[in-house]
C-alpha cells in the first residue's frame, strides 16, 4: 500500500479539515509540509497536484485529489468501516445523506466565506504585522450572527448539525471555529446556548485536539 499523503500546512484550515478526517479514522498518513511563506504552493511540483495553487493536495495510492471537502468525503466513504463514522448512521439512505449534504453546502457557502474573513482580519493579519480593520470585523460579525441564528434553531432540534451523530458537516466547521475561539468573535458562539454547546463538543474531540499541535 503506497499510503496516504497530505501535501499542506499544519496551520491552514483547509489542510486541517483533511487531517481531522484522517485522525477521526485513525488512519496512518504522511504530512508533507508545503511552505506557504515561501510560495511553495504556487510553484511546481505542487501546482501539478493542485493547479489552483492552494493547500491541501492528497494522495491515496494512485488516487490524487485536491479540494479539502472532496478529500474528506472520499475518506469518509473509502474508510467507512474504520474509526469514527463521518457519514450519517444510515449512510446508504440517500435522504439522510442529502440532509448531511445540505449542511456541508451551508458550511461552504454561508458560514465559511464570512468566518474566514473574520479569521483573516483578526488572526492572519496580526500574525503578519498588519492592522485589523474593525469596520470589516463588525460587518462580517453581523452576517455571521444571522448564520449562527439559523444554526441555533437547528441545534435545538438535533444534537449535531446533520442529526443525532457527528458527521462531516460538523467536522468541516472545526478548523475555522477553532481560530475564531481565539478572537472576540467567540462571543457570537457564547451568546447562543446550543451553538456554544456544539462548539464545546466538537472542539474537545481527540482528533480536534490533535490538529492543534
Amino acid at each position: 500500500m503506497a499510503g496516504i499523503k497530505v501535501f499542506g500546512n499544519a496551520t491552514s484550515p483547509s489542510t486541517r479539515r483533511v487531517l481531522l478526517a484522517l485522525h477521526e479514522k485513525n488512519l496512518d498518513f504522511e504530512l508533507v509540509n508545503i511552505d506557504l511563506k515561501d510560495g511553495e504552493h504556487k510553484k511546481e511540483p505542487f501546482l501539478s497536484r493542485n493547479p489552483f495553487g492552494k493547500v491541501p493536495a492528497f494522495e491515496d495510492g494512485d488516487l490524487k485529489l485536491f479540494e479539502s471537502r472532496a478529500i474528506t468525503q472520499y475518506i469518509a466513504h473509502r474508510y467507512e468501516s474504520q474509526g469514527t463514522n463521518l457519514l450519517p448512521a444510515d449512510s446508504k439512505n440517500p435522504s439522510h445523506y442529502a440532509i448531511m449534504a445540505i449542511g456541508m453546502e451551508v458550511e461552504a457557502h454561508q458560514f465559511d466565506p464570512v468566518a474566514s474573513k473574520l479569521v483573516w482580519e483578526q488572526v492572519i493579519k496580526n500574525f503578519v504585522g498588519l492592522t485589523t480593520d474593525q469596520a470589516i470585523v463588525a460587518e462580517e460579525e453581523a452576517k455571521l450572527a444571522k448564520v449562527l441564528d439559523v444554526y441555533e434553531a437547528r441545534l435545538k432540534e438535533f444534537k449535531y448539525l446533520a442529526g443525532e451523530t457527528f458527521t462531516l458537516t460538523d467536522l468541516h466547521h472545526i478548523p475555522v471555529v477553532q481560530y475564531l475561539l481565539g478572537t472576540p468573535t467567540k462571543k457570537l458562539f457564547t451568546e447562543r446556548p446550543r451553538v456554544n454547546e456544539w462548539v464545546a463538543e466538537v472542539t474537545k474531540r481527540p482528533a480536534s485536539q490533535k490538529i492543534l499541535k
Binding site: P51, F52, L63, L65, F66, E67, R69, A70, I71, Q73, Y74, H77, R78, P94, S95, Y97, A98, I99, A101, I102, M104, E105, V106, A108, H109, Q110, V147, V150, A153
Partner: protein, 210 residues
C-alpha cells in the same frame, strides 16, 4: 409522487437542479417563487430555506435546499436511471466531487459577483468587474489545461462536475457578454459546445424561454 421545486426557471441555482432532473428523466413540478417581489425572504418560504434563497425541493416528506446537495441526492438516488452523473467507482466519484468543489470555490465565487454586477446592477463597480475578470481568466486557464487531456472536467464522461457549471456558463455566454473568454480557449470552447448541445440542456433552455 412528483417532486416539487420551489424557485424560478430562469434563476441559476434552480437551473442546476432542473438540469439534473432532466438528465435523469425525473418528473418534477416547478412552483414559482417570485424573486422580484422578494417572495424568498418571506416567512412561509423561510420555513423551506432559512437563508431565504432558491431553490428548495419537496419530495413527499423529504425537504431539501442547496442546489448542489439536491443534485447529488437525485444523482445518487437515481444512479441507475438516465445519465450517470457520479461515476461508477468511489475513486471516480471523488474526482467528480473535486471538480464540483472547484466550481463552487473558484468558478462560482467569481462568476456570481460578475453576473450580479454586469447583469443586475445599473451602476456597477467597474474596477471590481475588471479584477473579477482577471481572476476568471486564471480559472479558465486551469480548465483549458484540464480539458486538453480530458473530454469532460472529471474525465471521459459527462458528470455533475460539468452540469454544475452550466447555469453560470450560460450567463457568461449571454447576458454578461463574456463569451470571448470561452471562445478564445480551444478546449473550454469545445467543452461548452458539447455540453450545451445535450438534449437535457436544450429542454431546459426551451422551458426558460429566454
Amino acid at each position: 409522487m412528483v417532486v416539487k421545486l420551489f424557485g424560478q426557471i430562469k434563476a441559476g441555482n434552480p437551473q442546476r437542479v432542473l438540469l439534473c432532473f432532466l438528465e435523469k428523466g425525473i418528473e418534477f413540478e416547478v412552483i414559482h417563487v417570485d424573486l422580484n417581489t422578494f417572495e424568498q425572504k418571506k416567512p412561509e418560504y423561510l420555513l423551506r430555506q432559512p437563508f431565504g434563497q432558491v431553490p428548495a425541493i419537496e419530495d413527499g416528506d423529504l425537504k431539501l435546499f442547496e442546489s448542489r446537495a439536491i443534485s447529488r441526492y437525485y444523482a445518487t438516488k437515481y444512479a441507475d436511471q438516465g445519465t450517470d452523473l457520479l461515476g461508477k467507482t468511489l475513486e471516480q466519484r471523488a474526482i467528480v466531487e473535486q471538480w464540483m468543489e472547484v466550481e463552487a470555490n473558484y468558478f462560482n465565487v467569481v462568476v456570481l459577483p460578475l453576473v450580479i454586477n454586469i447583469v443586475f446592477t445599473p451602476k456597477f463597480d467597474v474596477a471590481l468587474v475588471e479584477e473579477l475578470k482577471v481572476k476568471l481568466d486564471k480559472v479558465l486557464d486551469v480548465y483549458e489545461n484540464q480539458l486538453a487531456t480530458n473530454r469532460y472536467l472529471a474525465g471521459a464522461e459527462f458528470s455533475l462536475a460539468d452540469l454544475t457549471h452550466m447555469p453560470g456558463m450560460r450567463y457568461i455566454m449571454n447576458e454578461a457578454g463574456l463569451g470571448s473568454m470561452i471562445t478564445s480557449r480551444e478546449n473550454v470552447n469545445r467543452w461548452w459546445n458539447e455540453i450545451s448541445a445535450r438534449p437535457a440542456w436544450k429542454k431546459l433552455m426551451e422551458m426558460a424561454a429566454y
